[in-house]
């Protein structure tokens, strides 16, 4: 065991000189961008679903909840088939680019943001909306204050979305292709190194991935804790 960890450190050191920084930054970039876009789509959509009553609302929520459990590899397959040269969106020339990875990861993360936003706002007392409107809030002001009120569970939604995309490998592999200097990220590197039998390097990369996820979540948790004290 000791030797394995020592080997991992050594392998990582040889990696550092070459690709580690690049791979880590691309991981952060793709996951960060995908999370941000998911938030832009998911927060308004989730808010609308949480605050509006319509006939097929239950069915819609079931779809969203299913979406939260989408297998990344299936999403990858779907996006790849769309973006392949011969696919309907092949003309965009996006296959095997970071942009394609962002698209796939948005499809994975957006339902999570929608679903958890519905849950977060659903926890608030429904009369709070009446109270805010009764104090003269416009619709937009009301939504903004409801978000502030539900900031803790909304942060949890953000963490869940980021966590799902940074750790995801299936879709990144299928639409990104794990091309060195272009679409190679931490998770696809781990698959590659493992495939090559370079277990030490794979473990080293795994540790970096874990550390990254930990740092981002620690920052968000810190923000959450601060929010709780108010």
């Amino acid at each position: 065991m000791d030797t394995l960890i020592a080997d991992a450190a050594q392998a990582l050191q040889s990696f550092v000189g070459s690709d580690l920084v690049e791979v880590t930054l691309l991981s952060l970039e793709v996951s960060g961008l995908a999370t941000a876009i998911s938030l832009l789509i998911g927060l308004p959509l989730g808010t609308w679903l949480a605050l509006t009553r319509f006939r097929s609302r239950g069915l819609t929520l079931s779809f969203v909840n299913t979406g939260m459990a989408l297998p990344p590899v299936v999403v990858g397959l779907f996006v790849a088939s769309m973006l392949w040269r011969s696919g309907p969106l092949g003309g965009l020339d996006l296959i095997y680019t970071p942009a394609a990875m962002v698209i796939a990861e948005v499809i994975i993360a957006a339902p999570i943001v929608v679903g958890l936003t519905v849950a977060a706002l659903g926890q608030l007392d429904p009369r709070l909306r009446l109270q805010l409107l009764g104090l003269g809030a416009s619709r937009l002001q009301m939504v903004w204050w409801l978000w502030k009120e539900a900031r803790l569970p909304l942060l949890a939604a953000l963490m869940a979305a980021f966590g799902s995309v940074i750790s995801e490998v299936g879709a990144a592999m299928m639409v990104g292709g794990n091309i060195r200097h272009q679409t190679r990220v931490l998770t696809t590197s781990i698959v590659l190194e493992t495939g090559k039998g370079e277990f030490a390097a794979a473990i080293g990369l795994g540790i970096v991935l874990l550390a990254l996820a930990f740092l981002v979540n620690a920052a968000l948790t810190w923000a959450q804790q601060r929010g709780q004290q108010r």
């Binding site: 009369r127 109270q131 009764g134 104090l135 003269g136 416009s138």
Partner: protein, 398 residues
């Protein structure tokens, strides 16, 4: 007719806020149907009624927070259209039964309505400070709103509405979530504030005392319908129908028929006996005799005391329901004197509610001290007396 005011337009020519032909449906059921109700500048209108009567729905409609199926909402005579709703809501301050404070400081909570209106920071600070002090919660300014007591929270909720200096203050059971002592103190303060600010106010409550104390007028809602709207004293003394009578505490309600009227006194046959009432209802009319328990005086027959022995002696040998021999009368100005037996007693704090079977069931409210003095026992003989003016007659249709 008894001459009691019908629900109708309020006294002032142009009310501050009024609703016309308001109907709110829930499914196929009309939970609220009010023809006309208004509140004038500086007036406090209390809205009372049993649970599920539609009181809160009415308040939300007045706040323009629900869209009724039909009806008009008018501000100073001008209809509030859909596009004016936000402007209208910004003239209103709403306080709900639960304070529903935001997870922020007390200051931020009180300031939020001003923030909605885009009021400048320095003005926000001055106005919030003023109202926090006015409600005696200045020291809580920087405390997290979730960590204060329920009484303090309701003060924050009141400050949050009053800081807006609204034209109309809408209060939905504002004291429902606080204990009796806090409630009394809050009620005192609110009464002072309403006098002082001269703000128009609608207060929904199921507490009759609160409604009578705060209201310039009192509206009684039963099953979504406005049954009566009048000065609180009028509603208490002259309820328009049986539901209102029951709600305002006329516990004795006896159906009968007017036998004769003489010099403004109606003689009503209620079956086993006859009751005299000050009323101009014409003979032959079916009526409901309403009597409040505090208007009934009990005289002990079996117990100790000056008259007891004498009355007992004269009562014995006189069958209670005999029409031939008139029962002995006390030398009293109370026109109605009915001998009976105590059927049940229920303690209510310092008061005691006493059920008396006089052939007809009566309810009296007496102090515990009186009950002790009279040595009142269940089954004991008493004479129940009440004045003709204490009986209110409601003409029944049919």
């Amino acid at each position: 007719m008894t001459g009691a005011a019908r629900p109708g337009p309020s006294a002032s020519p142009t009310p501050l806020v009024e609703v016309h032909d308001l109907v709110v449906m829930r499914g196929a059921r009309a939970v609220l149907a009010v023809e006309e109700l208004g509140v004038s500048e500086g007036e406090t209108l209390s809205v009372v009624g049993p649970n599920g009567a539609g009181k809160s729905t009415l308040l939300l409609a007045l706040a323009s927070l629900i869209r009724p199926q039909s009806g008009r909402l008018l501000l100073r005579g001008t209809p509030v259209e859909r596009r004016d709703e936000l402007a209208y809501r910004r003239r209103v301050g709403l306080v709900l039964a639960d304070p529903l404070l935001l997870g922020a400081s007390v200051f931020a909570n009180v300031a939020c309505g001003l923030r909605f209106r885009g009021v400048r920071d320095d003005e926000v600070r001055t106005r919030v400070a003023h109202w926090l002090d006015r409600l005696g919660i200045g020291h809580l300014r920087d405390r997290p709103a979730r960590q204060i007591s329920s009484g303090e929270a309701q003060r924050v909720s009141l400050a949050r509405a009053l800081v807006l200096e609204p034209d109309l203050l809408l209060l939905d059971e504002p004291f429902a979530s606080v204990d009796a002592v806090t409630r009394a103190k809050l009620l005192d303060d609110l009464e002072g504030l309403l006098d002082e600010t001269h703000v128009g106010c609608v207060i929904v409550t199921h507490d009759l005392d609160e409604a009578v104390r705060l209201g310039d007028r009192m509206a009684v809602l039963v099953e979504g319908r406005l049954r009566q709207c009048d000065a609180p004293e009028r509603v208490l003394s002259a309820p328009l129908d049986e539901d209102v009578a029951a709600f305002v505490g006329a516990e004795t309600r006896l159906p009968g028929r007017v036998v004769s009227t003489h010099e403004g006194i109606a003689l009503v046959d209620v079956g086993p006996c006859q009751i005299e009432a000050v009323s101009d209802v014409r003979p032959g009319r079916a009526v409901l005799c309403c009597l409040r328990p505090e208007d009934v005086t009990l005289w002990s027959v079996d117990g100790r005391g000056l008259l007891a022995g004498e009355v007992a002696r004269r009562l014995s040998g006189t069958p209670r329901t005999s029409a031939a021999a008139a029962p002995p009368r006390l030398a009293s100005s109370a026109r109605n004197q009915l001998p009976g037996r105590v059927s049940r007693t229920v303690s209510q704090g310092s008061l005691m509610r006493v059920g008396v079977d006089c052939g007809i069931p009566l309810v009296a409210s007496i102090t515990r001290a009186s009950a002790a003095d009279m040595d009142l026992q269940e089954g004991g003989r008493v004479i129940a007396t009440f004045k003709a003016s204490a009986v209110h007659l409601i003409p029944l249709t049919g």
